[in-house]
């Protein structure tokens, strides 16, 4: 062999050789898949997913948005997967460096960046595949328990991309710091990042922080998937961010001089820049987000077709001679809602503006994680009581309370909200006269005076304590309790016929806020 042979012009690749490239790449990937470390820790991740994501979710009512609030809305499946995947990916990424074979690999037939990509791809395939399988099994268990409505698939996709991002970031840590300590450092670093993400998510209800995958503010609330479609705007932005991080981390590996040829390193630089640009664009888009009727809207990503409510044929029952209609997802609660409203509807029957029908409506989205303070409303001819059932504590187990919610508490909330709407008190506590009439009507419906302050506090319409600053015009705050309840007791003590006659005559003035406490009988 002479040097002439080595300087001969390169022959064009034959068709057979060209077809061998993907075959070789597939073989390389297959080898890496068989020797990957991720399957080794999958039993541990499965156990943790059961303990931290599935088990707490079972304390929630069988409604998708509530049951998956913890594991999808607040991203606990990502917290269960991400750090472990990052740690194992760091172990895989540091393999060549730990074994001292980096030079050997650099001189091999394939550029180092390509072999690293094969190792990372195998790691990501195992991790993302396991994530999808485990979440699929969890959702299968939910469906077997009779969950209705669409599942939050967009958030599943975000989780899958997040797992890929953790694998890429961990792999880069391992490749750049080839040490046995790379794995625990990548894992612990991932935990700290996720904790900071949760902290920022709890605190910030708008702006760039909405892009954090553990932030459920304004985008994962009870009406999601039941009254309104899950808006994909924020999940798309989050996937852009996470995919950008993945690209940047993977591209970073191809920048060192021994990663491959100049052309390959140039490609790696483009991939890195594309990743950074994608992540930056996603953050920029999220800063334009606003709260729409169906959740967080990002104008550049928004599809107006998602603004419509999901059509549904309500399920109806009757109580006190009045139809009560709920969204079919809430069918299991129809009997309890009817029973809870019966005393109030019977008490109000025949009075001007008394509801002739009860229908469930969507509770409003708000900028936080959801609050139990959305009022009911009575409107239309004939009057319809509109009940936002997704903003009250449903009976039974609930992740928001330390003990199961008794039916009496649930009934008290519905009764108080219904009477509050009937006296026209709006979103606040109402005028003193409205508070007094409300107390008398609730007493007549079977909710004693002593139990009322607690219920009013739960539904967010409790009067402010004495001495508190006035809440606004029409609210005679700071002088409540004793005079109000004295007037209420007087009204409740009157014969039923006399009370109804007085109410019939004065309800219009009461609702307009013109009636004072002194004008009550």
């Amino acid at each position: 062999m002479t040097a002439a042979a080595t300087t001969a012009p390169a022959q064009p690749r034959t068709p057979r050789a060209a077809s061998a490239v993907p075959v070789t790449a597939a073989r390389l990937l297959w080898v890496e898949l068989r020797h990957n470390a991720v399957p080794f820790i999958l039993p541990l991740i499965a156990a943790l997913l059961w303990f931290d994501s599935y088990r707490p979710s079972m304390t929630q009512p069988p409604v998708w948005a509530l049951r998956t609030f913890w594991n999808m809305g607040q991203g606990h499946t990502i917290i269960d997967f991400g750090p472990f995947v990052a740690g194992v990916a760091a172990w895989m990424g540091s393999r060549e460096g730990r074994r001292g074979i980096t030079d050997l690999i650099t001189a091999a037939a394939r550029p180092r960046w390509i072999t690293q990509l094969a190792t990372w791809a195998a790691t990501a395939i195992w991790a993302v595949g396991a994530y999808l399988v485990f979440v699929g099994v969890m959702f299968g268990a939910y469906i077997a328990q009779g969950m209705l409505g669409p599942a939050p698939w967009w958030w599943v996709a975000v989780g899958a991309v997040a797992v890929a991002a953790f694998s890429a970031a961990g792999f880069a840590v391992g490749a750049l710091y080839p040490s046995r300590f790379a794995a625990p450092l990548a894992a612990i670093g991932s935990v700290l990042v996720l904790m900071m993400s949760s902290q920022t998510g709890f605190r910030d209800t708008s702006g760039w922080a909405l892009i954090l995958p553990t932030n459920s503010n304004g985008n994962y609330q009870a009406p999601s998937g039941i009254f309104y479609p899950y808006l994909p705007d924020l999940p798309i932005a989050r996937m852009m961010l996470l995919a950008g991080i993945t690209l940047a981390a993977v591209g970073l590996l191809g920048l060192p001089s021994r990663a491959g040829s100049r052309g390959l390193r140039r490609t790696a630089a483009v991939v890195t820049l594309a990743g950074v640009a994608m992540a930056g664009t996603a953050i920029g888009l999220t800063t334009t987000a606003r709260l729409g009727p169906g959740g967080i809207v990002i104008p550049a990503l928004h599809d107006a077709a998602n603004d419509h409510q999901i059509p549904a044929t309500p399920v109806c029952g009757h109580t006190a001679g009045i139809p009560v209609c709920l969204n079919p997802v809430y069918r299991p609660y129809l009997a309890e809602v009817s029973a809870a409203l019966h005393p109030v509807l019977a008490e109000l029957a025949g009075l001007p503006g008394a509801p002739a029908r009860v229908v469930q409506v969507a509770g409003p989205y708000n900028s936080t994680e959801g609050a139990f303070d959305a009022p009911m409303a009575i409107s239309g001819h004939p009057p319809v009581l509109r009940v936002p059932l997704d903003t009250v504590l449903l009976p039974g187990t609930s992740g928001f309370t330390s003990a199961p919610v008794p039916f009496a508490d649930f009934a008290g909330q519905l009764q108080a909200l219904a009477v509050h709407a009937f006296v026209g008190a709006g979103a606040g506590p109402g005028t003193l006269a409205q508070q007094a009439v409300q107390a008398a009507l609730l007493q007549g419906a079977g909710l004693p005076f002593a139990a009322q302050p607690k219920v009013l506090s739960i539904i967010g319409v409790a009067p402010p304590p004495p001495g508190a600053p006035a809440a606004g015009a029409g609210h005679e705050a700071g002088k409540v309790s004793k005079p109000v309840y004295a007037a209420a007791q007087r009204l409740a003590a009157r014969p039923a016929a006399a009370r109804r006659a007085w109410l019939t005559a004065h309800l219009a003035a009461l609702r307009s806020g013109q009636l004072t406490l002194a004008q009550l009988p």
Partner: protein, 221 residues
């Protein structure tokens, strides 16, 4: 050519003084610690101590109740335990096991040295501000999690020993949020709680004993 006579000194050479047993033992320990990357581990532990100091000094807290406020210190303690577990990984495998008569004692010494260093580094870091539970709880928590890490190293291999403390941290956070009070979730109990101290001590003793006798499992990957 035979091997006969190779153990005899070259004629005219100065006699080699016999090695003192103490110095040989120290050299053996030093070589063992280096083979386990203990110097690097000590550096990482010092870094975690500095991180704890910064967290307490600048009040990097997660919003929420007492469980949430313990999140970051517990993550750092789990990190220290993970470092101890990963330092158990040995690169020599069977040859070392077959020839190392002092291996169990060397393992015991390295685990104790690293646990002591972890407690020392984090206790120094705790001077940065108020640490919930104080130093007593820190010693208990780190020791218990280090025991878990060593158990994981024996069962899964030194390379994956870090998964034990990290999994325990995740379980602890979930359990504290749910209000569990079992002593097996020792970070949730007061610093002078006997049950929690016994549980953490048992886990540490079990981890130390298993690691001393069996060593970390040879990595499967």
């Amino acid at each position: 050519m035979t091997a006969a006579g190779v153990d005899q000194a070259r004629p005219g050479a100065a006699p080699v003084p016999p090695a003192r047993p103490g110095a040989a033992g120290l050299r053996l320990l030093g070589l063992f610690l280096v083979s386990r990357r203990v110097p690097t581990a000590l550096g990482v532990l010092v870094g975690l101590g500095a991180l704890l100091w910064a967290e307490l000094h600048w009040h990097w807290n997660v919003a929420g109740g007492p469980a949430a406020q313990r999140v970051i210190p517990l993550v750092i303690e789990a990190g220290a335990a993970a470092v101890i577990a990963v330092a158990s990984y040995g690169p020599f495998g069977e040859p070392e096991r077959a020839t190392g008569r002092w291996l169990p004692w060397l393992r015991l010494a390295s685990a104790l040295i690293l646990t002591g260093a972890a407690v020392g580094a984090l206790a120094a870091g705790a001077t940065g501000g108020y640490l919930p539970g104080g130093t007593l709880a820190l010693v208990r928590d780190v020791a218990g999690m280090a025991g878990l890490g060593l158990l994981c190293a024996v069962a899964l291999g030194g390379a994956f020993g870090w998964t034990g403390p990290l999994a325990y941290w995740l379980i602890t956070e979930s359990a504290l949020a749910a209000g569990w009070t079992t002593p097996w979730i020792w970070p949730g109990r007061p610093p002078r709680d006997t049950g929690a101290a016994i549980c953490a001590g048992l886990v540490f003793a079990a981890g130390l004993a298993a690691f001393t006798l069996r060593g970390a499992r040879a990595s499967v990957r």
